[in-house]
């Protein structure tokens, strides 16, 4: 009984409620005419789409930088890579990997500056990260308009310059991961093998990294900076590494998202993508100073499951689309819950 109680406390009521809510949705689905196999397929797909962006939260949480509300910087680096790959007319797997390779230098540069900034403002990272992210998105809005892209699929037809708000990747690398070794069962169920393998690869690399010498030093910095400094760890350097990795993962995450979604969305599109990633890892059981691979996995499945199932099930049940409201309340409620929880300080 005691064990169970501590388990509940650790896991937190909101997550349990969300879990049972999701289970209830799945149970109800067949009764309101929603196909279960299609739903499962959808959830898996969306899990793969979003998991790497959620994974991007892990390094910064571990190194004590808090929730990465500035993930937008990584997303923008990814967008730069994706648009450049289209500009260079890279097709297929080459185009997809090319986008990641092209995004890498940007993500490292952005991440480095971002880390420099965050190291100057320890303790205030989250608010500042949020506004740095917003202002950077706005800055890039101007850039998207004036950068000299000229691939006709990307720029506005009549002006011949300035990127479109949404760019289709259909002729380049649409669903390149989703369709890789995909297993089709029946008419509605598709298992996106390639996508999930890719996600698993990154999760495994992250898991390895956290167990490496650098990774453990980084975790030490997060859990007790004074102790870490005393034992000769360069705190700022560890934080810098974590921020760069997070930014890089953000870049990879959005490219993976785009290949599955089918469109590159520019301008203000990245800003609403940050909060769901933050909410997902928190739903998975992470706190603002501790996160693991399990949190990423559970959180993304729960959150994306909720996003997939509420519109279809609730709509058929109540004949109204309440999914947007539910999404707002759940995701922000979850972040709020994490922010207000008393942190167990290990001093």
């Amino acid at each position: 009984m005691r064990n169970f109680k501590t388990f509940i406390q650790d896991f937190g009521w909101p997550r349990i409620i969300i879990f049972f809510f999701l289970v209830a949705l799945f149970i109800m689905a067949p009764f309101v005419g929603v196909r279960l196999d299609a739903s499962f397929s959808d959830v898996l797909n969306r899990f793969g789409q979003n998991a790497i962006m959620v994974l991007a939260m892990v390094p910064m949480i571990q190194s004590g930088c808090g929730l990465n509300f500035g993930l937008a910087l990584g997303l923008v680096a990814g967008l730069l890579g994706a648009t450049l790959s289209l500009q260079l007319e890279l097709h297929g797997m080459l185009g997809f990997l090319g986008a990641i390779v092209l995004a890498t230098p940007f993500s490292i540069i952005f991440g480095w500056f971002y880390a420099k900034l965050l190291n100057k403002v320890k303790g205030e990272e989250m608010t500042i990260a949020m506004y740095v992210g917003f202002s950077f998105i706005m800055f890039m809005c101007i850039m998207w308009l004036i950068l000299p892209y000229n691939n006709p699929t990307m720029v506005w037809g009549y002006a011949g310059k300035g990127l479109r708000t949404t760019i289709s990747v259909e002729n380049y690398w649409l669903k390149i991961l989703n369709n890789f070794l995909a297993i089709k069962i029946g008419q509605f169920f598709v298992f996106p093998t390639g996508l999930l393998l890719f996600v698993a690869l990154f999760a495994f690399l992250m898991w390895l990294f956290l167990r490496s010498k650098t990774g453990t030093a980084m975790t030490a910095v997060g859990s007790n900076p004074d102790f870490a400094r005393a034992s000769g760890v360069d705190v700022d350097k560890m934080r810098t590494i974590s921020v760069i990795i997070s930014t890089f993962l953000g870049a990879v995450g959005i490219i993976v998202y785009e290949q599955s979604f089918g469109f590159i969305q520019l301008y203000t599109a990245p800003s609403p993508m940050v909060f769901p990633a933050v909410a997902a890892i928190l739903i998975g059981g992470a706190s603002i100073n501790k996160a693991s691979m399990v949190n990423v996995l559970v959180g993304t499945i729960l959150f994306q499951g909720l996003l997939t199932m509420t519109p279809s099930v609730i709509n058929s049940l109540l004949q109204t689309d309440m999914s947007e409201v539910i999404r707002i309340i759940v995701s922000n409620g979850m972040i709020l819950y994490a922010l207000t929880r008393k942190i167990k300080v290990s001093k």
Binding site: F69, M138, C141, E324
Partner: protein
């Protein structure tokens, strides 16, 4: 303190103000707007926005940073206005009615906000920001599903055609500029909404008076140091809650003033940017996370909105695209908040480091000029 150091502190403190004045001055000629037009716009926008920005002052005094949770009050004000329009109450009476409806809601929301922030000490800003999003979800639920179904709406023309929920845009024609137009002074070609400014002036008087009361003094003490205040017998948590409640209530009134001037209400997203604009304004005016004055509010609204008026047209002329100007002003708005927060966090850390160093310096060499070594050490740190 050498003169050079003074100068550098001056620049670092007023960096944002100076940058803003320069940007705006540069942008005025290409925008092609007359000074008279810009001045009239600023007068209008001072009347429209000042009240909202003033709502930020008390939480800053109480050491809770920039109250991004003020959006809660704005939502309460909007609910009030929806009811005023629904019952067909027009003119300033409609505004008073909206305020009376919004008041209890904003007190309740402010109380909740205070409780939540007390659980997240040291992270008030980001918590307030997320709380605003969270309550936004509840607001959407209330306005989109409850109004017209659970709570009957008599005025069918403001309800969506499906029978419940409020239309996306609410025409506030019945209360449009009713506060501004009670007495509209016309001086030298300028229209000045006198009553709006009197209301704003009264709020300023209230803030000045409030700072002198026992509660106001307690608030300052809590803002200085919570532990010390607690030791001195000040109910810290309660004082913080009161600060947030007052701020939320003021934001409610401020949003009503804002919307009566705008003349229509985007039901589901009018409040989205309220906190952003108010916070950007007070920061542009030279306030910081811990220090703000009434002067900061007015200077900030003037500067921020001067740039907002000028930038789209300047962007059009300079780059051939109005969108660039639009993005630019948003970039500047967010950038200003980011820079102010960074400068503040950086200054606090520097001050802490200097305090440490000067303490050490005083122990090492008493009697010697302790100004100079401190500067030297500061450079190394």
């Amino acid at each position: 303190m050498s003169a050079r150091k003074k100068l550098s502190t001056f620049f670092s403190r007023y960096a944002v103000v100076i940058i803003f004045v320069i940007i705006t001055l540069i942008a005025i000629p290409p925008s092609g707007l007359s000074i008279k037009y810009i001045l009239q716009e600023i007068i209008t926008r001072l009347g429209r926005n000042s009240f909202l920005v003033l709502a930020l002052l008390l939480p800053i005094y109480a050491g809770m940073g920039l109250n991004f949770g003020m959006t809660l009050g704005a939502m309460a004000g909007q609910v009030g206005l929806i009811f005023a329009v629904n019952y067909g109450i027009s003119n300033w009476q409609g505004l008073v009615f909206a305020l009376l409806v919004g008041l209890p809601i904003s007190v309740l929301l402010g109380y909740v906000c205070g409780l939540v922030m007390n659980r997240a000490k040291g992270r008030e800003m980001v918590t307030g920001y997320i709380l605003a999003f969270f309550i936004n979800g509840i607001y959407q639920f209330f306005v989109m599903y409850m109004l017209g179904s659970v709570i009957p709406m008599g005025n069918k023309s403001i309800v969506l055609s499906r029978g419940y929920g409020i239309r996306n845009t609410l025409n506030l024609e019945s209360v449009r500029q009713s506060l501004d137009n009670i007495v509209m002074l016309r001086v030298g070609g300028f229209s000045i909404p006198l009553v709006t400014f009197i209301v704003i002036a009264l709020l300023c008087v209230f803030v000045v008076w409030f700072k002198k009361t026992k509660l106001g003094q307690d608030m300052r003490a809590v803002g200085q140091d919570m532990a010390v205040a607690e030791a001195a017998g000040i109910p810290v948590e309660k004082t913080r809650i009161v600060a947030i409640i007052i701020s939320t209530v003021l934001a409610c009134a401020g949003q009503i003033i804002f919307l009566q001037n705008m003349g229509n209400l985007a039901t589901y997203n009018a409040h989205d940017q309220t906190g952003f604009f108010a916070v950007a304004a007070i920061l542009v005016g030279g306030a910081s996370v811990t220090h703000a004055s009434i002067a900061n509010v007015f200077l900030g609204v003037t500067l921020l909105h001067a740039m907002f008026v000028v930038s789209p047209l300047a962007g059009q002329k300079l780059f051939g695209s109005a969108m660039i100007g639009e993005y630019f002003r948003q970039f500047i708005g967010y950038g200003v908040i980011a820079i102010s927060l960074v400068l503040y966090a950086w200054r606090t850390r520097k001050a802490a480091a200097e305090a440490r160093l000067s303490l050490r310096g005083a122990q090492n060499g008493p009697g010697k000029g302790n100004g100079k070594p401190a500067v030297g050490n500061g450079g190394q740190a």
